[in-house]
């Protein structure tokens, strides 16, 4: 029914447009076709609109920063995250300076130099100095960003550790995550898709002595302040392990093992006391209350961030960052591979 009414509506709109066109056609015939040429009057209107809408756009960007700035992720909960965020802030500062200078100039020029009767444009075809200037200035700004960026990148990707990192495997499949801790030997047992059977969802080779003390879990617990060496595997399609609060992400690729390392710096209990997080939780819970949904308690979360199929949008795992003691106690409760398989 509503489909028919939509079609009827579209037909009516088209008919109206045809009629409007007819009228404008007749009226333009009266004005001898002048109507369709761009004249000083149009230049005035359109030039003013350029100024109005252009500046409106620039101002609304400011408004968005004020209104939605709070939506950004809270302070990073990892050691390297702070470095990423300062680089981010500098980059944002630079691009915003350019944005708020260039856009107003563009729209102002469009308005200011709108065509007028009897004026002639200035013949100005090139100026080497000017062009050199705006080649060199962006080049300098970019040099700073490139050098700093590459520095941050190499500390992220090739971290130097004072202590040996804890080895944790993150395993992806449609549509859930599993983690495997390396246990006391801090060595993960060999695993392959050919060993997957029954409860052995990760395909751990139980013949490998290193696998005996491995611990498989459905929740990612991490001790605060300890470097964690993650290795990532996937069994079916590409997934991406995205830890937004830790400024970390790495693809999980079937057939190969990828890795990433970070050190969590804020426990779950502490981050819940962060004022931005508190405000966020409060806002979300008001929305959820209005919809009659459960109250939400903040947790770090691991998301899938590479399209992986129908339930891609709901492939998640909670992350709990806790003190070393709490972590040890939790780990002790978990069963090892030797006990379960």
């Amino acid at each position: 029914m509503s489909a028919i009414s939509i079609i009827v509506l579209i037909v009516l709109v088209i008919l109206t447009l045809v009629q409007v066109m007819r009228i404008s056609e007749i009226s333009s015939e009266i004005q001898k076709g002048k109507d369709n040429e761009v004249g000083p009057k149009d230049n005035n209107t359109q030039g003013r609109l350029m100024l109005l809408v252009g500046f409106g756009f620039v101002i609304s960007v400011l408004v968005m920063y004020v209104a939605w700035g709070r939506l950004s992720l809270p302070e990073p909960s990892s050691a390297h995250g702070a470095e990423i965020d300062s680089l981010w802030n500098l980059s944002m500062l630079i691009i915003n300076i350019v944005f708020f200078i260039v856009q107003p100039i563009l729209f102002y020029f469009a308005y200011k130099y709108r065509g007028k009767k009897g004026t002639k444009a200035t013949y100005f075809e090139h100026n080497n100095r000017l062009e050199l200037f705006w080649t060199v200035v962006p080049a300098l700004a970019l040099a700073v960003l490139i050098i700093w960026g590459l520095n941050v990148w190499s500390t992220l990707m090739m971290p130097e550790n004072e202590e040996e990192p804890i080895l944790v495997e993150v395993y992806a499949q449609q549509f859930n995550w599993t983690v495997r801790y390396s246990g006391g030997d801090n060595e993960l047992g060999y695993a392959t898709v050919h060993e997957i059977a029954g409860a052995n969802i990760l395909g751990v080779d139980t013949q490998d002595p290193a696998s005996a003390d491995d611990i498989v879990a459905k929740e990612l617990h991490l001790p605060v302040g300890k470097p964690i060496q993650f290795v990532f595997r996937a069994q079916d399609v590409i997934h991406s392990a995205y830890f937004p609060h830790f400024r970390a992400q790495m693809n999980c690729v079937p057939g190969s093992v990828t890795n990433f390392q970070f050190t969590p710096t804020i426990t779950t209990a502490e981050i819940r006391q962060n004022k931005d997080v508190k405000a966020h939780v409060e806002e979300v819970n008001e929305i959820r209350k209005a919809k009659g949904e459960d109250i939400w308690e903040f947790n770090y979360v691991l998301l899938c961030n590479k399209i992986c199929g129908a339930a891609h949008y709901n492939m998640q795992m909670d992350i709990i960052v806790e003190t070393q003691d709490e972590f040890d106690a939790w780990l002790k409760e978990q069963k090892t591979v030797a006990e379960t398989l």
Binding site: M1, S24, G33, N36, V38, D42, N43, Q46, L49, M50, V53, S60, V61, L71, S72, I84, L87, I95, V98, V102, Q103, L106, Y113, K120, A121, Y123, E125, W134, A139, L142, G149, W153, S154, M157, V193, F232, Q235, D236, V237, S240, R247, A248, Q249, P254, G255, S256, T258, I287, R288, W296, V301, L303, N305, K306, I307, C308, G309, A310, H312, Y313
Partner: protein
């Protein structure tokens, strides 16, 4: 030496002209070899595909704004894929995928380059037609066939391809992974293969024509910037599309013949598959080796068009012609060595990541030069606000806005946390999607009189522009904030994570803008078709332009010029030249006594 070749050339071209015979409907409109008609065929097909692509975005925007709510309109369009009016997640992914494929390849590659390269290359360089009219026609028909197959793929039982427009294996290779990776994906690959063949035939033709068939006096440094852009675009296409072709063929082999180019160690649907030794990341390298130049295959023609439109309507020479050409060449060169910035988090060697960060950020320099040169062209101009001019100015705005966020995404360290989030969606839609589509609109409004001999309605053009400009920023700018909140793209619904609950309002706002913006395109479509038949008759040179296409008669003819091909005496940008009587001096006007040749 060069003079004699061009003279011989002209003679050869004149000879071609004598061969025209009686035309019937089919030879004139369907199996034509005339470049102007082929350009129009590309445009109409591209517009048709564009309507499908944009409508798809309306449907999935509706779903994102109101997840799991029932909309009869969804059931009307999607049938079994939206039982009770609620969209199936697989269909959501399919719509996103086909929207991307159609917009990137069918609208902004074939629809944009195909239309304007065909229409303008012979007309602006002073040639009777393309080097090979037959190859040109073939190029269109490959594109047409590929469009038909892409549309047919929408109707297969298990749904069209749904693994994202980049169709990464293994997701795209295994029907067990998602229904869209069955017959729909096979058709997608066949369609893209034909598309690439068509695109290559076209590009080769454009290159040969520009290099060999310029009229007397049309040196490379006198070419309008449109032609420079089309030439470099064609070179990019010829060098990069074959790589996508091989990527697609290998994927087809993996799917149909059981080879293991991209697949290894896979357990799915309760069994281990026999693939071994392949790498999914190899596919990504091959894909993005085309994929990144593709961005500039889309963008450069739009920048070329806007250069022409901005100069003509500012009544000023384009500022820094040589720098503009230089920056096109620099961007094109760099575009081949930056593809890895799409793959920072695939686990590739960190050193490689550093190299790609370096080369990627370098692109900002020639891009900045282009933006500043556009703005300086406006300075002290006498701006005529035709709808084409409005779209070109808007292009400069989106090119700047979207280009700036590229500085963030190109930086490997910063990319980690916004990779594949809405920040990326915002970035590429603004810098590539909007800029290119604005360039395409500018081109259509500007050269409509050349294509159809009639004028488009100005007031509807204005209405179309302002609605589009406002709503498009309204759709894409807020997405930056969604991305900074960590919201991943390609999520069917954001309700699974309470942390995103407070973003729902923004998604609703975006959807409103999207639907108004989509509806505004009806004004354009109506204006376009209405003006083809009922628009006021165009004058020969309605915008008072300098380039050669405006010296041809309004009524189309084979061979473009009734007499000799005009000889070129100056560059295309002698607007408001001191000493000249009018504020424009067409390229075929000889230098006056004592006049210095511009630039």
């Amino acid at each position: 030496m060069s003079t004699t070749t061009t003279e011989k050339n002209n003679h050869f071209q004149d000879h071609l002209m004598e061969h025209h015979h009686e035309e019937n409907f089919f030879t004139k409109y369907i199996f034509t070899m005339d470049h102007k008609m082929i350009g129009k065929q590309f445009l109409i097909t591209g517009m048709f595909m564009g309507i499908i692509g944009v409508m798809m975005s309306m449907l999935f925007r509706l779903e994102i704004a109101y997840p799991e709510q029932s909309f009869p309109i969804l059931e009307f369009f999607l049938g079994k894929w939206a039982p009770d009016g609620v969209m199936d997640p697989n269909m959501y992914l399919a719509l996103v995928t086909i929207h991307g494929t159609i917009m990137v390849f069918f609208v902004l590659t074939a629809g944009l380059s195909g239309t304007f390269s065909n229409l303008l290359i012979p007309l602006q360089i002073g040639a009777r037609d393309m080097a090979s009219g037959f190859m040109n026609a073939l190029s269109y028909w490959f594109f047409f066939l590929s469009s038909v197959i892409m549309v047919v793929s929408l109707f297969v039982e298990a749904g069209p391809a749904a693994s994202g427009w980049t169709v990464y294996p293994p997701l795209s290779a295994l029907p067990q992974a998602m229904p869209g990776s069955g017959a729909g994906m096979t058709l997608w690959l066949i369609s893209m293969t034909l598309f690439i063949v068509g695109s290559l035939l076209g590009s080769l033709n454009y290159i040969v024509t520009v290099i060999n068939m310029r009229t007397k006096g049309m040196s490379m440094t006198r070419l309008p910037l449109t032609i420079w852009a089309f030439l470099v675009t064609a070179i990019l296409g010829v060098l990069s599309f074959p790589v996508l072709l091989s990527a697609a063929l290998l994927l087809m082999f993996d799917r149909l013949l059981g080879t293991s180019f991209y697949l290894s160690d896979i357990f799915i649907g309760g069994e281990v598959l026999s693939y071994s030794g392949g790498s999914p990341v190899l596919y990504q390298h091959l894909f993005w080796f085309l994929g990144h130049p593709e961005v500039y295959i889309i963008l450069l023609p739009a920048l070329g068009i806007s250069s022409e439109v901005i100069a003509t309507n500012s009544r000023k020479p384009i500022f820094g012609y040589r720098a503009m050409v230089g920056s096109i060449l620099a961007i094109a060169f760099l575009s081949f060595i930056v593809w890895g910035h799409h793959m920072f988090v695939t686990g590739m060697n960190p050193f490689l990541g550093s190299v790609f960060t370096f080369t990627t950020l370098l692109i900002a320099i020639p891009s900045a030069v282009k933006a500043f040169n556009y703005i300086t062209t406006l300075w002290k101009g006498n701006i005529q606000f035709t709808p084409a001019m409005l779209f070109s100015i808007a292009l400069v705005s989106t090119f700047v806005t979207g280009g700036l966020t590229g500085v963030i995404l190109g930086d490997s360290a910063l990319d980690i946390n916004v990779h594949d989030t809405y920040f990326v969606v915002a970035h590429f839609h603004i810098v590539m999607g909007l800029s290119a589509i604005y360039g395409m609109f500018a081109g259509v409004y500007h050269w409509f009189p050349k294509m159809y001999g009639r004028m488009m309605n100005k007031s509807m053009g204005y209405a179309h522009f302002w609605l589009t400009f406002i709503t498009a920023y309204g759709v894409f700018f807020p997405m930056h904030f969604l991305g900074m909140a960590g919201l991943p793209r390609r999520y069917y619904s954001n309700t699974a994570f309470p942390m995103f609950d407070n973003l729902a309002d923004i998604n609703v706002l975006i959807t409103y803008f999207a639907i108004i913006g989509g509806a505004a395109q009806l004004i354009f479509i109506f204006n376009f078709f209405y003006s083809i038949w009922r628009g006021p008759k165009a004058k020969q040179n309605p915008w008072r332009g300098n380039s050669l296409e405006w010296t041809t008669p309004v009524e189309h003819m084979h061979g473009n010029w009734p007499g000799d091909i005009p000889v070129v005496h100056r560059w295309a940008y002698d607007y408001s030249k001191p000493g000249a009587e009018e504020d424009f001096v067409p390229q075929n006007v000889p230098l006056a006594e004592g006049e210095e040749s511009g630039h």
